[in-house]
Amino acid sequence: MPGLDGTAVIALSVLTSISILLLTSLGLAVIFGLMRIVNMAHGEFLMIGAFTTTVLVRSAGLPVWLAVLGAPLTCALLGAAVEVLFIRPLYGRRLVETLLATFGLSLILYQAAIDIFGQSSPGIGAPGGFVEIGRYTVSTYSLFLPAAAAAIVALLYLVFKRTRYGLLARAAAQNPDMAAALGVPVRRVNLLTFVLGCALAGLGGGLISPIVAVSPGVGQSYVGQAFMTVVTGGPAFLLGTLCSSVLLGGVANVVSQMFTNLWGLSALLVVAILLVRLLPHGLSGGWTRGL
């Protein structure tokens, strides 16, 4: 029924949804996968990334492409401070305590954003115009997002497979005591991992800032789905999250196309619940250890 151009547009729209889910989940996945910390302030890091980009474009006049790169930098700096002040004292304590501490942090960051930016501040539009596909037009930026997501995943894969840090981080994740005994500087590796996770969240926020309305609450609307993506992804934090993004984002978008947004949202939730019941260890639970 939709025709060739319609099908292409649907496929592109599915791809964009998947990449948005992936971009907003990766930071959470890295921190949870490697440190077993549930970063409840993840949404606020998304928000800070989005605001950084917006401010750089609007106040400093940078082009969007460049401004997006400022987001991970801000979030990395902030993440480093957070790790030293709030996370480090909690290593070895119960997981729930880091979860609550980061939740407290999220409230603080949220209110700070309201105090600084107000409830509604001017945003930036999507750059690059649009392209025509048959009878349809598609935003160029929505085509760029999947490419950016793919590049980020590939880069992360290389970092964890090829660099010294990647090896140490994976070792520390699998057995911190053993890694420490072997001379891995676990503290520094954890700091780097947390900073990387925050930077990824910031990058995600920066990348979606041109297509959403940036407000202090913007991160919170992504957190729930990000949690579900990471949980259903399972222990292979990179490829598992990729798979769950494809599955959840794909299902949500396809169902939205066929029926309505409400059904799309419901389908995402139903699939996530089913996955948790059927595969309690996530999509990648049965894989031999991977990324």
Binding site: P2, G6, V9, I10, S13, T16, S17, I20, I114, G118, Q119, S120, S121, P122, G123, I124, G125, A126, G129, F130, R135, Y136, T137, V138, S139, T140, Y141, S142, P210, I211, V212, A213, V214, S215, G217, V218, S221, N253, S256, Q257, T260, N261, L262, G264, L265
Partner: protein, 436 residues
């Protein structure tokens, strides 16, 4: 719909004791005197009764903090400003007004809690407050059970049928009818409706459908979008497939602003016109970029740019008090109207006693305010008011396109009963649920 409120006709018991609702044995287990004594003992609750003769206590409940503070802050500011203005001009019946401010913090349970506090406070004569339909429905039944008058300043979907409540904002019919007519004439006859999936969205959509069909146009698609959706890829593809000439956007809230952004990014704003009865209330024109919003058409009773003298004075006073505040929208202006209409009614009635004030309100005293002339329509408890069509220019401002003088409100609830508060529903304290 609601038997409880239906069956509870309220008889104001005068000013000697507490309001007693027949049919319930509320408060009978305590003597009123004990309550008064207890209230007087505890600071904060009881207000010195001695001061009663020269002040009238009034209240406002708005979300000054939290997610809805974007609406609540200007509304509370204007509330303060209006009370100041009235007091400067000599007060009401020669008595000064004292405003009790309740910050409901964007939490529904606080509306409930404060409404009960106000309800139990004999001194408070009137409330101008509430922002969302949800907050109004949390507070209204409690206030009206306790014989308190409520002025609700937001635009709303209709259906309110409460003798003690006056609806200040324009209703769906008042806003959508000019929008549909304008769009039919200037953009085209095919409509796609994108609506927020909550009560307002559903009712507004029902009005859109009936108005478009009556005007000879057609609806080529309708979609209800949950409030937490911000990825509109699927919606935009469907719009492109349906090829409407006009989008009627009944979207609300921060997440839904992304719709306008993604709509423009896909280049659809070149060929399809958006009209909306809700755009702008959340400062959408400020958040989005000028390119994204240019050409969107809205309809409200009030715009900051209106040229009448009352508005110029109003804007000047507001800007003096809040130099950094954002643009003034419809809601705060209705707060101003509410306080002044109440003042006029009390002065006509010669008392703050609720029955007489309501009767005076229903008699239709005209008021010349920032949004022009308004007159209360007795049966519907809604204002007959001017509606202005405006479009967003390239500088994030609204430019008035056309003014419809003295547009009457709807006395009909979509697909359901009508409400006549001066006739058959004169004892009603309920909300009629619309049927679609």
């Amino acid at each position: 719909m609601n038997d409880k409120d239906n069956g509870t006709a309220l008889v104001p018991a005068g000013c000697a004791g507490e309001q007693v609702a027949p049919g319930t044995d509320r408060r009978e287990f305590l003597k009123a005197s004990m309550a008064v004594a207890g209230g007087a003992l505890l600071a904060g609750a009881g207000l010195a009764r001695a001061a009663r003769s020269d002040t009238i206590h009034v209240a406002s409940m708005f979300d000054v903090t939290g997610g809805l503070s974007i609406y609540g802050q200007p509304e509370m500011s204007v509330s303060r400003l209006a009370i100041e203005h009235i007091n400067k001009a000599g007060g009401v019946l020669g008595r000064k007004l004292e405003l009790h401010e309740y910050d409901t913090q964007s939490k529904i349970e606080l509306y409930s809690r404060y409404a009960q506090e106000i309800g139990a406070n004999d001194d408070i004569a009137v409330v101008v407050g509430c922002i969302t339909g949800a907050s109004r429905e949390a507070a209204r039944p409690i206030l009206s059970k306790n014989g308190k008058l409520l002025f609700f300043p937001s635009v709303d979907e209709g259906g309110e049928c409460d003798k003690f409540t006056f609806m200040q904002g324009s209703d769906c019919l008042q806003m959508e009818s000019p929008l549909v007519n304008w769009a039919m004439k200037n953009a085209g006859k095919t409509f796609y409706v994108a609506a927020a999936d909550y009560v307002y969205g559903h009712v507004a959509t029902a009005w859109t459908k009936s108005l478009v069909e009556k005007a000879g146009g057609s609806i080529v698609g309708t979609e209800f979008i949950p409030l937490d959706v911000s990825d509109f890829g699927a919606t935009i593809r469907k719009i492109q497939t349906a090829k409407p000439a006009v989008i009627m956007s009944n979207l609300v809230g921060g997440n839904h602003m992304a719709f306008y952004r993604q709509f423009a990014a896909a280049g659809l704003n070149r060929s399809i016109r958006i009209v909306s009865p809700s755009f702008g209330l959340g400062n959408e024109q400020q958040v989005l970029s000028p390119e994204e919003t240019k050409g969107i058409v809205v309809a409200y009773s009030y715009f900051e740019t209106l040229g009448n003298a009352e508005n110029k004075a109003f804007v000047a006073a507001y800007r003096k008090a809040h130099p950094d505040a954002g643009p003034l929208m419809d809601l705060p202006a209705q707060v101003w109207n509410g306080w002044h209409q109440w003042k006029a009614a009390v002065e006509k009635a010669g008392t703050t006693e609720i029955g007489k004030v309501v009767a005076a309100m229903e008699s239709g005293i005209p008021f010349q305010g920032p949004s022009g002339r308004i007159v209360m329509d007795g049966p519907s408890h809604r204002n007959i008011q001017d509606i202005n069509l405006a479009t967003v220019d390239g500088k994030r401002q609204f430019k008035i396109l056309q003014t419809f003088k003295q547009v009457p409100p709807s006395r009909q609830v979509v697909g359901s009963a009508s409400c006549d508060l001066t006739g058959k529903d004169k004892d009603s304290h309920r909300m009629i649920m619309p049927k679609m």
